[in-house]
């Protein structure tokens, strides 16, 4: 192996990388917030929703969890226009991430809800709270607190998985790396740098989510 590593291209192309990072972060933020919301809504639907909705949600969750994200993405971006649903790369990427995280989030939140002692729910009802109020204050908040670590790692997984959106030409960090290596012919170095950036993003995101957990669920006696 007589290959001379060259990272000189970084000088010229760092703005491309920065833009890619911004898009990846934007995707993660939108996907995270809406995905978790969708997950919570689905968990509610499965636990307390109308009878017809439960199997629908169950099917959605199973379908998403048992197919690759890449195919979900292709189906949304290339397949849906056949039904007249047309959208840009970023919207498709966002939608795919929300749908994906929603399914995993649903299962995680549901596990948290199931760990809620039955008596809690009855206590809420006996205090004259409505079903929704009981769900929100007595079931959901403690459940979220309980499953926050699992939810956080799922969000990190979705962020890392978002690398696939480059395949529908959404201009994320991986897209930027593809672009740079096609110009510089420095494929290994380019992907190496991109990988390190992803690693840094993953570590930062994990820390950020931990901090968010502390602010969202201040030290009530844990568990």
């Amino acid at each position: 192996m007589n290959y001379a590593f060259d990272f000189g291209w970084l000088l010229d192309y760092w703005p491309v990388l920065v833009k890619g990072i911004a898009v990846t972060l934007e995707l993660t933020l939108v996907g995270g917030v809406l995905g978790v919301s969708l997950g919570v809504a689905c968990a509610w639907a499965r636990a307390l929703g109308p009878g017809w909705l439960r199997p629908v949600v169950a099917a959605y969750v199973e379908l998403i969890r048992n197919t690759p994200f890449l195919i979900q993405l292709f189906f949304i971006f290339f397949g849906l226009p056949a039904l007249g649903v047309r959208m840009g790369e970023l919207e498709a990427a966002n939608l795919a991430m929300v749908i994906n995280l929603g399914a995993y989030g649903c299962e995680i939140v549901r596990a948290g809800i199931q760990a809620t002692p039955k008596g809690q729910f009855e206590a809420g009802a006996s205090l004259g709270m409505s079903r929704i109020q009981t769900f929100w204050y007595v079931v959901l908040i403690p459940a979220l607190q309980r499953i926050w670590p699992a939810l956080s790692s799922q969000i990190v997984i979705v962020m890392l998985g978002s690398a696939a959106v480059s395949q529908i030409a959404a201009e994320d960090l991986t897209f930027a790396a593809n672009f740079i290596q096609s110009r510089t012919f420095r494929a290994f170095e380019t992907y190496f740098v991109a990988t390190l950036i992803y690693l840094a993003l993953a570590i930062a995101l994990r820390q950020g989510l931990r901090g968010l957990g502390w602010t969202l669920f201040p030290k009530r006696t844990a568990r």
Binding site: F75, A82, V156
Partner: protein, 219 residues
Amino acid sequence: MSEFTTWDIVRNLLLAARWTILLSIVSFIGGGLVGAALLFARIGKRRLGQIFVKTYVELFQGTPLLMQLFLAFFGLGLFGIDVPAWLAAGLALILWSAAFLTEIWRGCVEAIARGQWEASSSLGMGYIQQMRHVILPQALRIAVPPTVGFSVQVVKGTALTSIIGFVELSKAGTVVTNATFEPFKVYGLVALIYFCLCWPLSKSSQILERKLNVAHRNH
């Protein structure tokens, strides 16, 4: 509109799915072997081994599988050989699976109560004997459901190898789409095939888990 019947599409996809299955099996088994080696370093007594495995896991779980595939593909290319896609795909997926399996199994070993270590120590067993006769047999039992569950991630992970040019189910989906201009139908079918591969694995993992929990409650 095109000369492809639905059956033609399905047949082509199913033929390609063989490669998805083969790659999944190779990655899962290879990952299991590497993962087992890493596990012993991780739960062993040497600090250096522990740190190495911790770092390894952090790197593979903290970066996108797609990047790992690129690095394997172009990294192997640095050695001047023309790298076939299957080699890079297999290598990356094996190393990636190993990281996850090692973590899963470490959790199982650590779930074994401290009393088991102490009782076997007090009976005069050495570390290897404890592992071999007391800890691993128990850890193995609780490791089955999550391990089966992880195989689903492996099957789904193989989809990304299409991006470095390995021709499996996802790649076939793209190729067939380009020929038929029926992305809705083709990607729908691709998803369906993945579902048929993954769902039985997911389900068995759940069933095994439930069985194990029932067995535990009998204590």
